[in-house]
């Protein structure tokens, strides 16, 4: 297979591949605070681009990551979700689902961060369901796109984190 990670969708836009420096960004984390990718420097980061808040519960990707969180933390990683939903929508969603990690609003200009990562689906006007593992120095080490209707689970993220070289 030439494209084992599904990095090229129908519209031909490819996700930024492993080895690329992760473009920095600053997005609203809550109605009153921002979060920048550079704030996460020094530890591995997991970026989860997803189409929309309020998907069905039991098969929900973010609900799963919320449960796997202790394992991500054990591996020293921080996780953030990113969609084009507004900060107010994220706030309600985080509260309703007890999410214990930040959701960032790629709301204005819409999808700009998603576009920088190749993770914006122009035809649908939402982020495509895409995962990035970024190392402590800010370099993308793994990227993966899943069909929008398929929850990619957490195993690929865990494997990518486990492959990161151990920092002395």
């Amino acid at each position: 297979m030439s494209d084992p990670n599904n990095t090229t969708p129908d519209d031909g836009v490819a996700l930024l591949p492993a080895g690329t420096p992760a473009p920095d960004f600053t997005l609203k984390q809550t109605p009153d605070s921002d979060l920048s990718l550079s704030d996460l420097r020094g530890k591995p980061a997991i970026l989860v681009f997803y189409p929309a808040d309020w998907s069905s519960v039991c098969g929900d990707q973010l609900a799963l990551y919320n449960e796997v969180l202790p394992e991500f933390e054990r591996l020293g990683a921080q996780i953030v979700g990113i969609s084009v939903d507004s900060r107010w929508c994220h706030k309600a969603y985080v509260e309703a689902r007890n999410l214990r990690f930040p959701l960032l609003a790629d709301f204005h200009p819409k999808g700009a961060v998603g576009k920088a990562y190749g993770a914006y689906d122009e035809s649908k006007g939402t982020e495509s369901r895409s995962l990035f593992v970024i190392d402590a120095d800010g370099v993308i080490r793994w990227s993966y796109r899943s069909p929008n209707s398929v929850n990619p689970g957490a195993n690929g993220i865990l494997e990518a984190l486990e492959r990161l070289p151990v920092k002395s």
């Binding site: 519960v57 039991c58 609900a63 919320n66 449960e67 689902r97 990619p152 957490a154 195993n155 865990l158």
Partner: protein, 179 residues
């Protein structure tokens, strides 16, 4: 994920698992489930009907996959089922939980232990000390590492079943795995 793209069980079925049916049955169905998940509740009678239909040709295994942040009673229910299992009553207790999905408070769980004549003091101690928390978490992580992304997720002879779990579809997939 394997070469052919199919997700497979990362932890093979072992002696520690709750198993129903002969160990040498030609087909093993593993379910990762959550006692408070309504989809798992809907799948429960389907699994029972399939067990009845297939008889000794099927071994069924249940592993815990509680989504504890959206289902506040799921972790307690899973630990209670394990505590019942410790007193050799896993399956009746498990069935009872799925038949009473909307009554899974600590008081409900203790009441069900009484209905099955379990040693109440021992059962309550296990719940209070979270004796089986680690086991439940180990089940959960084995699911995560096997590609479980929601509940219920089924594996047939170790391969994730990505199709529907309607009776006819699941039964056909099991029969196909057998032949």
């Amino acid at each position: 994920m394997s070469e052919d793209g199919a997700s497979r069980l990362s932890r093979p079925v072992g002696d520690d698992d709750h198993q129903h049916g002969p160990a040498d049955a030609p087909v093993t169905l593993v379910e990762y489930g959550d006692y408070e998940c309504p989809y798992c509740g809907a799948a429960h009678p389907i699994v029972q009907a399939i067990q009845k239909e297939m008889g000794d040709r099927l071994r069924f295994v249940f592993r815990n996959f509680p989504l504890t942040q959206i289902h506040p009673h799921a972790a307690g229910a899973a630990e209670a089922a394990e505590a019942a299992g410790d007193q050799n009553a896993f399956w009746p207790y498990h069935d009872h939980l799925f038949e009473h999905q909307y009554a899974l408070s600590p008081r409900d769980l203790a009441g069900y232990a009484g209905e099955f004549n379990l040693d109440a003091a021992r059962f309550e101690r296990a719940l209070e000390s979270h004796e089986f928390e680690e086991r439940v978490r180990a089940d959960f992580m084995s699911g995560v590492r096997s590609g479980v992304n929601g509940t219920p997720t089924f594996f047939i002879n170790g391969v994730r079943h990505d199709d529907s779990y309607d009776y006819e579809v699941l039964l056909a997939a099991l029969n196909e795995a057998k032949s």
